[in-house]
């Protein structure tokens, strides 16, 4: 271990209770870098952060990892369970492995990067978060997504973008099927530019943005039509 590494405070979850670790990361005026070791699939690790810190977790995590994140940069060297970065407001969460269902659910801001695959319902009800998935996403991804961008470098499962509102989906592979009201849309210069920026931010700048397709809402469901007026 180099001297620079030794300066980084490390929490060992095999000896320190999770609540103590999370409370330490909620201290007022927190800054700098932190490492969490031996999570062994624990739930709720590094949730509720609200400080410009970098937290690195070495190992696989359980449910709600890095949930409700604000400002912090969280790197998870492993896989993450259900509800990764749920309701993120800002900051970044980067998972080097794969994520289970409902990754980035309801997120309002920030960037979530999953190097591997994401399970079902990735980006469900997203409200402004950007999500970049290195591999595939499962069924019902971006279900009722309201705002933000979902980038998928692999394939998507059934019913991609079902009942979409204003979120934009960029897919390089193919979707098993599109959900209700989700349609392919023209990839205009502003989209190529937006996509290039997202890919760069996620570390996939070698991808050709033109190799992606864009999907969005056809705006034909009752929410968008006059029949719903009363």
């Amino acid at each position: 271990m180099s001297s620079a590494d030794e300066a980084v405070p490390a929490f060992d979850l095999s000896t320190t209770p999770l609540r103590e670790v999370n409370q330490a990361l909620h201290a007022a005026g927190l800054e700098g870098e932190y490492v969490i070791e031996n999570p062994r699939g624990a739930h709720n690790v590094a949730v509720g952060l609200d400080a410009p810190v970098k937290v690195t977790v070495n190992g696989h995590l359980g449910y709600y990892a890095a949930g409700m994140n604000q400002q912090a940069e969280v790197v998870i060297n492993g896989n993450a369970g259900t509800g990764l970065a749920e309701n993120m407001m800002s900051g970044t969460v980067h998972v080097t492995g794969s994520a289970s269902q409902s990754a980035g659910a309801t997120g309002r801001g920030g960037l979530l990067v999953i190097d591997g695959d994401a399970g079902a319902r990735c980006g469900i009800s997203m409200k402004g978060i950007d999500i970049v998935v290195g591999g595939d996403v499962g069924h019902m991804s971006a279900f009722m997504a309201q705002k933000g961008r979902l980038v998928v470098r692999g394939d998507a499962g059934d019913a991609l973008g079902d009942s979409l509102y204003e979120a934009r989906i960029y897919l390089r592979g193919t979707a098993k099927s599109l959900g209700a009201d989700c349609v392919e849309k023209e990839l205009r210069p502003e989209h190529l530019q937006e996509l290039a920026g997202l890919l760069k931010a996620a570390g996939f700048e070698d991808d050709d943005p033109a190799s992606y397709k864009r999907y969005g809402s056809a705006r034909t469901l009752y929410h968008f039509t006059h029949e719903n007026e009363y």
């Binding site: 699939g41 696989h60 359980g62 449910y63 369970g81 289970s100 079902a120 499962g138 069924h139």
Partner: protein
Amino acid sequence: MCGIVGLHLRSPELYSRLGELLTGMLCEMEDRGADSAGIAVYGNEDWSPRGKGSVSLIDIDVTAETVAAALGAESGTEVTAITVDNVVLANADVDSEALMAAAKKAYPHVLIGGFGEDLAVLKGVGAPRALAESWGLAKARGWQGVGHTRMATESAVTSSGAHPYAVGPGECLVHNGSFSNHATIRRDLRAAGVEFDSENDTEVGARFVAHRLADGKGVDEALTDLTRTFDGFYTLLVSNRDSFAVVRDAIACKPAVIAETDDWVAMASEYRALAHLPGVENARIWEPEPEVIYHWNRQEVSA
């Protein structure tokens, strides 16, 4: 909620550690369900001697000697029995179905936990950790084991509501989730002559699979039939003496993780139940796809 775990060993070098590893898996899932628990172990000679038919009698309040004598009288053969906490495990040099029939005749009101060759099923009401300890699970050896921690939703907290449901010869099913149309399917199965021990939804799934296997269908076909017949949310682990299979419903909201190495295949409701397995850091880890049947067969090796 409930938790399920299963470990299918490929490397005979690990057989002596099956119980220890399964105990760790089961206890880690205790906070997914702590009202009752159950396990099935394949290949533990102390509980189910090789080459014999075995049957598990749950919550029976007579001694093993009494059970051995009663089953011996019914079956007309010499029966051996041991007590493992709340369970009596009986075995004899007869087919397990014949031994099970003798047990049902001798003790018509006692719950049969399971029957088969090389199979022992233990289940009961209580916290999984306490039950595992009272059964001495950590000392068990074998090539395959499954476990369940229950948080009851569909039926009463009783041993008959606890998993595994081991209702066919050597077969075992544990379930995380709930079936919504089980009453209809139970009626159909009853009409076809199938008998039930409980009002539990999972028992219907297990009886359904056992009924299909008894008809000569394979595990894959039986589980495909199940996905087309049952409505609800489920992750199922279905084991036989020589096989280990996982299937999830189309919605796939009930959790499931599978890990595989050259030495073992394991599945659990959550990764944390696998975190102590040897070599897990280099395992291939993934979540089963909806309605895809994952199925492994045992390669018989001399231990």
